[in-house]
Amino acid sequence: MIHRYRGLIHFVAFALLSVVLLPGCREQSGEQEHIAQKKYSIYAMMKNGKEYILQTDSLASGEINPEKSGARVVPAPLYYELIVRDGRYYSIDRRKSAFVRYKIANGEFVRDTAIAITGFSSVENYNWLSRDSLMILGYDEDARKVRYVKIDVRNLSISQGIVPVPAPFGNYNWLSIGFSQFLENKLYIGYCYHTYTLDNYTTGDTIYTAILDYPQLRPQKTLKDTRSVYPGGVNTRQSHSFVTENGDFYFIACPGIALGNYPEKPTGIFRIRKSSEEIDSEYFFNISASAINNHGYGFWYIGNGKAIVRTERKGLYTGMKDHYKVPHFDFYLVDLEKQTTSRLPLPLDKGTSRQCVLVENGTVYITVNSGNEGCYVWLLNPGTGALKKGLKFSDDTEYILRLERLNDQ
């Protein structure tokens, strides 16, 4: 059916792009004007399935109706793919292998402009090299070559190339890049391999970490670890790693059904100490064996050696078929050094992976989509542990899918 109408769809897409892009070109001659200079961006999905981008200055109180005050997201679902900075939204167009910038026009979130890039089907991981320079790692549709593209987002000029991560071998036919982190002028890339067929998917036994020099991207060293599988995850979807104040790097490995699909292995936190260039063999924070006793995925740093882990609750969901729609997620506060955990007394949350924690000026903002207690931004004071409700979403909101900083002060 789709194939039958492909010609028509292409024509309509072309016509729409023409309408969208042509005025965009004209605008560029004039002064670049950002529609809004709000502080925060929120991506919400309503009970009727429609999606909205909202921009707001305050998360601490009040009520918001995404349908009334948001911009309707016109392209296909983008909630796991967006990169947001300085009032701009970006993603990769998988079909066209293009880097796309979006804009809000006439109350709709639409494509602004796009630039072709080579061999990219999606974002696996991204990093901001500077305020205007973005580096994206990904691969093409058969995952044989890992590639990078660097984009100057001021003029959308690009440079691109190959990253020397070995192609899938043996029984493996796919790979995932779970984290990418610059540490002391070297690029650390965490990755793993998969065996994938249309009815079976799992992850190889080893977590690999490639250490490359930069900017040459020559391989220096490859670290291996088998204490868990599936390091990190796609970082447009949610956070899985961070560097602490003292320069230590932490990442979470996610063998649960929603990422590695190797649930026999434990979810665990790994560490690369500053300047060590090794995964700390003495350190493994086994989340599955802790009081949490479940698999987890999202991992956010909130400062002072403390982090938040978002963990699933077995028994409340039956499998991947309802993993995303049943409220079963807990947020745990963990002490990275002492390896202690404490559950934040929030309602159970739903949505398999979400960009849902934002840390700013000593306040941790956590969005929660509860079953029947509504959708809220919650405010956590990490010093006192106090939690309170902030911005409320109208009752027709099903999910808050993203929360991020849109513009600096």
Binding site: I2, P77, L198, N200, A258, N261, E264, G319, Y324
Partner: protein
């Protein structure tokens, strides 16, 4: 014509006119015949009907369409003359009985996509399917059960309810009854892993993004979403 106890008795004794006989036979064979007769209770009606069927069944060989000659002779000797009428009815009845017992003809459509790369399309009255490579599907239109292994995209042309049964592993445990809305795209897939028996996942296109990134990517690529 009213079907009364008296008429039925009359029929049993072979005293019916052709018209009366036809009416009784019609009543016996057809559930929808005029319900002009007043029964003290519906149970009594059903009881009598089934009693008659039992009588008919009793004189029939288990499943033969025509009675064996030996049995026929025994019956003929032991019964008096009007029983011939009953016998005729029995033959008639046996045909109807067997029709009644057999389920309506089942329509099973099966398709095995042995291609390594291309999807296969299947257009049905209620839905269109796109079957991924190395996947197979068998749909029973009567039971509404769709057996499948692999991945399938479904686009219903009307609101329908289907039971998806993953046949890659443990079909009995991998059943999912889903209400599908007209015009939406749904993806049905078997999600298996190392030690797991796998599960059947049916997601609406808009919710696909919740699947593991690699699975999502593959499905979007495969179904050109």
């Amino acid at each position: 014509m009213k079907i009364s106890k008296e008429l039925i008795e009359k029929y049993h004794h072979g005293h019916c006119t052709d018209k009366e006989k036809a009416a009784v036979e019609d009543w016996l064979l057809n559930d929808d015949t005029d319900e002009t007769m007043e029964w003290p209770s519906p149970e009594e009606k059903t009881a009598l009907q089934s009693e008659m069927w039992n009588e008919i069944a009793a004189i029939l060989p288990a499943s033969a369409e025509t009675p064996a000659p030996k049995a026929e002779r025994t019956i003929m000797r032991s019964l008096w003359k009007p029983a011939i009428a009953a016998c005729l009815l029995a033959v008639l009845g046996s045909v109807a009985y067997s029709l009644k017992q057999e389920p309506a003809p089942q329509k099973v459509i099966s398709l095995n996509n042995s291609s390594g790369t291309e999807n296969k399309a299947l257009h049905e009255k209620e839905f269109t399917l796109s079957i991924a490579p190395k996947s197979n599907v068998a749909i029973n239109s009567k039971t509404g059960i769709m057996d499948f292994c692999g991945a399938v995209l479904i686009n219903p042309k009307e609101d329908i309810e289907l039971t998806f049964q993953g046949t890659c592993a443990n079909p009995a445990q991998n059943r999912e009854k889903v209400s599908l809305k007209k015009g939406q795209n749904y993806i049905a897939l078997n999600y298996g892993g190392n030690a797991q028996t796998g599960e059947v996942i049916v997601v609406e296109e808009g919710a696909m993004a919740s699947l593991p990134p690699l699975v999502l990517k593959q499905l979007m690529h495969q179904f050109n979403i």
